[in-house]
Amino acid sequence: MSALLDVDQLLDKLEAGLRNLLEERGIKSPVLIGIRTGGVWVADIIGKRLGIEEPFGELDISFYRDDFSRIGLNPKVTPSSLPFDTEDRDIILVDDVIMSGRTIRAAMNELFDYGRPASIILATLIDLGARELPIQPDVAGQSLKLDAPQRIKLRGPDPLRIEIQAAEQ
């Protein structure tokens, strides 16, 4: 059992929200960084829609997770890659879904090991609420409340699909 969300609609909203925010803040040349895996797919699409020509960065937050002491190291870690200097840059940090906020905490810690950015905007395709840390997206495609056993799954990269799944898988 799974239902589909209209991804294009969410992307439209995310794009519009980002355009407004960038204009409001007077940010002329932002760079995009996607969090692996889903955030990278979203960053790729949003980058094209916003006409950002600079290649986007990819973060793998495995070395910064706060559950290392509970479950150990993710065996499938891949190298982060930031093809630009983050020092004094305006960064749009992109993830597919925000829930507890722990991933974003890890991602920001990692980002600051590359340098001191001028600013960070957080953009997520979906906001599932259920926050455990005081971190909020600046722009989200949609807020969504799931029933307890449901899970959300982003599939991609082409085409990008979002499934809401019943309890198992």
Binding site: F63, F68, G72, L73, V77
Partner: protein, 340 residues
């Protein structure tokens, strides 16, 4: 010592197959070895950042327990631990308590009382890290930094990482290990890793006096004539002549050894033109290898050193992670049984 070197995996791995000690490559499958290489790749990227540190071992204490001298291995282990944010204690056992008569077990108990989380052990006796892994408190990870003639698994893995970087993979590769195989724990671990990762041919090239008995049983072929052995090679690994370990007359002379088994430019020309030259260091110029080759365009000896830091970061964080996951799992089981 009662260490069981034959079946190490009940010691090395958690029930879920995560690493919790790193003692030997024996028994570790291709998937786990590949995970180690992939994780190390990510740590190489960390080494290129403005801040070359990640918080994985923050608040953990790593003790470098070196019963045998080492510069490169110890300093790369130290740097690896520091880049993982651990606190590091370097213990040169030759100049410490053991020389005052303290037994190994007592030394370990004292270090455990300092709340150590990991021991990196180098010892002249084969099996010493196993023995320590069997006797330490659960939760403390042991990393083998070289034991006797038995194993040097982090060296072998950093060599595998170097080969993969330059050759893309292991399939179809022809690799030779040249020189003092007899005294080399590195060669044993390398042969094991190359076989597991799927190299096509592994040759050992050495005089009979510097080969262990039944060396073929490790999974390699033997070549006494270096000119023949160099043919079509993709990778040549030179070993240091371990003069300090030699007893009796295993060699006619260093000059004679160099003439027959030293890697000169002439001999290297017999290999594949893109053959890479490796050496675990420290190199003896003019004994195993000609200076022009060691410093030449095919040499990747200094890449090996850089990769050593990344590999050590990988196995240290994986083993520590395995220990902590196991601890958590046991705690969960206790809680579930309502005994907490």
């Amino acid at each position: 010592m009662t260490a069981n070197l034959a079946s190490p995996n009940h010691l090395q791995l958690t029930r879920d197959g995560q690493l919790r000690h790193f003692l030997t490559l024996d028994g570790l499958g291709r998937e786990l070895l590949t995970d180690i290489l992939d994780t190390a790749d990510s740590f190489i990227e960390v080494g290129e950042r403005s801040i070359k540190k990640v918080p994985l071992l923050r608040g953990r204490t790593v003790v470098n327990l070196f019963f045998e001298a080492s510069t490169r291995t110890r300093s790369t282990f130290e740097l690896a631990a520091k880049r993982l944010s651990a606190d590091v204690l370097n213990l040169d056992i030759n100049t410490s308590a053991t020389s005052k008569g303290e037994s190994l077990s007592d030394t370990l108990l004292n270090l455990e009382a300092m709340a150590s989380d990991m021991f990196v052990v180098r010892h002249a006796q084969s099996g010493a890290p196993h023995f320590i892994a069997e006797s330490v408190t659960p939760g403390v990870a042991i990393i083998n930094a070289g034991d006797g003639r038995h194993a040097h698994p982090t060296q072998a893995m950093l060599d595998m990482l170097t080969i993969r970087q330059h050759k893309g993979g292991f399939e179809g590769l022809k690799v030779a290990i040249v020189g003092d195989i007899l005294h080399s724990r590195v060669a044993r671990s390398q042969i094991r890793a190359l076989n597991e990762l799927g190299a096509e041919q592994i040759r050992v090239i050495a005089p009979g006096t510097l080969l262990p008995k039944d060396v073929e049983s490790l999974g390699c072929t033997v070549e006494y004539d270096m000119a023949k052995g160099m043919k079509d090679l993709d990778v040549v690994i030179m070993l240091r002549l371990q003069k300090e370990r030699m007893e009796g007359a295993l060699l006619p002379s260093e000059r004679e050894f160099y003439r027959l088994y030293g890697l000169s430019q002439d001999k290297l020309a017999l290999a594949h033109p893109e053959c890479i030259v490796m050496h675990p260091g420290p190199i003896n110029r003019g004994v195993e290898i000609e200076s022009a080759v060691a410093d030449g365009p095919q040499s990747v000896i200094l890449n090996q050193v850089t990769n050593g830091i990344a590999i050590r970061m990988a196995v240290m964080s994986m083993a520590m992670g395995g220990q902590m996951a196991e601890r958590q799992q046991k705690q969960n089981e206790i809680n579930e049984r309502g005994l907490a």
